[in-house]
Subunit: 219 residues, 2 copies
């Protein structure tokens, strides 16, 4: 019996992630961990999301960056509580960083917390932050081979936001290939084609967010 | 005196990197470590480079990927010796992986070795592989804030290949901002505006490679 228990001991990160998850659940907050390469458009997407949810959901944002507070500044302009985590060189957020950042929010005032991870398609996939779901952003100019080459994050995400869809006609991006690769990697993944810059295709994303927030409140 | 020596002891990775460097120098091979986010266009750029150098320099390529051999297959089609390193989940190449890969090449038959690192703008910056120079690829759709947000790799590179320059007119990418940020980060960095897909702006890149290979042979 003891051996069995020992196998269930969580790593330090996972233990703190579970504490974060419990704390957010107490407040009925739905939490997302947003992951992509640098420049896929996470921050622009977040800005659009904040605009579209204004008056409908109370949103908070944690911005993860290696250095600078450029992203938190961009989000704060939308009247949303946004706090920056600077990882000081680290290539991903971990649960302890998020735990500290949570102290800065009035959690009773939030419905939805979005954590924008460091721009990195690899390392953040391995660190549970206490979120309800991971969302991966892939942009058309990055190429259609990315799910095959970086499967972990596509495997662990609930939604793939395929961003910069307006650049499809000028690219050699093969959407059918992506769909086929994803069927092997994660058949349950919801793919949404969007352009954060032009504001297209975001209805389904906003609907999904509202649905998940409602489900979390009831839960 | 002993204390001074101890301070100079290199880490395990750096020690192997130095061995790689010595080995390549013995054969007069100039070696590059090519780093970027996923999808910035490293492999397409390498394919173009192999085409343009055919009959002029003897090129070898090491392809670093977390999984799959998609990239090495693409390069091998150009008649260039290409060997794949699969990192099995690791987010960067290290010197030992490169040391093993070097065994697969006939080093006496090479002038230039290009190592394509794992797609990641963060972690590979910290690992010396034994290269003569790092080259960073940034693509226009990734955005003009990347040098400010991920300074380490821009600080440590000799050349910045600004790729997908053909997408500049449809983007909000501010080239003047990038130049200004880079002056603070690394004033010696050579910025070259290119489109690997369309083959534009590559003359200066090929000239630079040939110059560096010649200098290495004489050295």
């Amino acid at each position: 019996m003891e051996i069995k228990l020992e196998a269930n001991v969580l790593s330090a990160n996972d233990r703190i992630a579970q504490e974060n998850r419990r704390r957010l659940a107490e407040h009925g907050i739905f939490c997302l961990n947003l992951i992509s390469s640098p420049g896929a458009g996470k921050t622009t997407l977040l800005e659009r999301t904040c605009e579209l949810l204004r008056g409908r959901l109370r949103v908070g944002v944690i911005e993860g960056d290696i250095t600078t507070s450029l992203d938190a500044d961009r989000i704060a302009r939308h009247g949303v509580p946004a706090h920056q985590i600077n990882t000081m060189g680290a290539c991903h957020l971990d649960a302890r960083m998020v735990q500290k950042a949570l102290e800065k929010f009035a959690l009773a005032e939030l419905d939805l917390l979005i954590i924008e991870n460091v721009g990195n398609l690899v390392c953040p996939a391995d660190f549970d932050l206490g979120e309800d779901a991971k969302v991966v952003v892939l942009s058309v100019p990055e190429g259609d081979d990315k799910p095959a080459k970086y499967p972990a994050i596509f495997q662990r995400s609930a939604v793939l936001l395929l961003n910069k869809i307006d650049l499809l006609p000028q690219s050699n991006f093969d959407l059918a290939r992506v769909r086929k690769d994803l069927e092997g990697i994660n058949p349950g993944l919801r793919l949404m084609e969007v352009s954060a810059l032009h504001g297209t295709g975001l209805d389904q994303w906003i609907d999904w967010l509202q649905g998940r927030v409602q489900a979390k409140r009831k839960g």
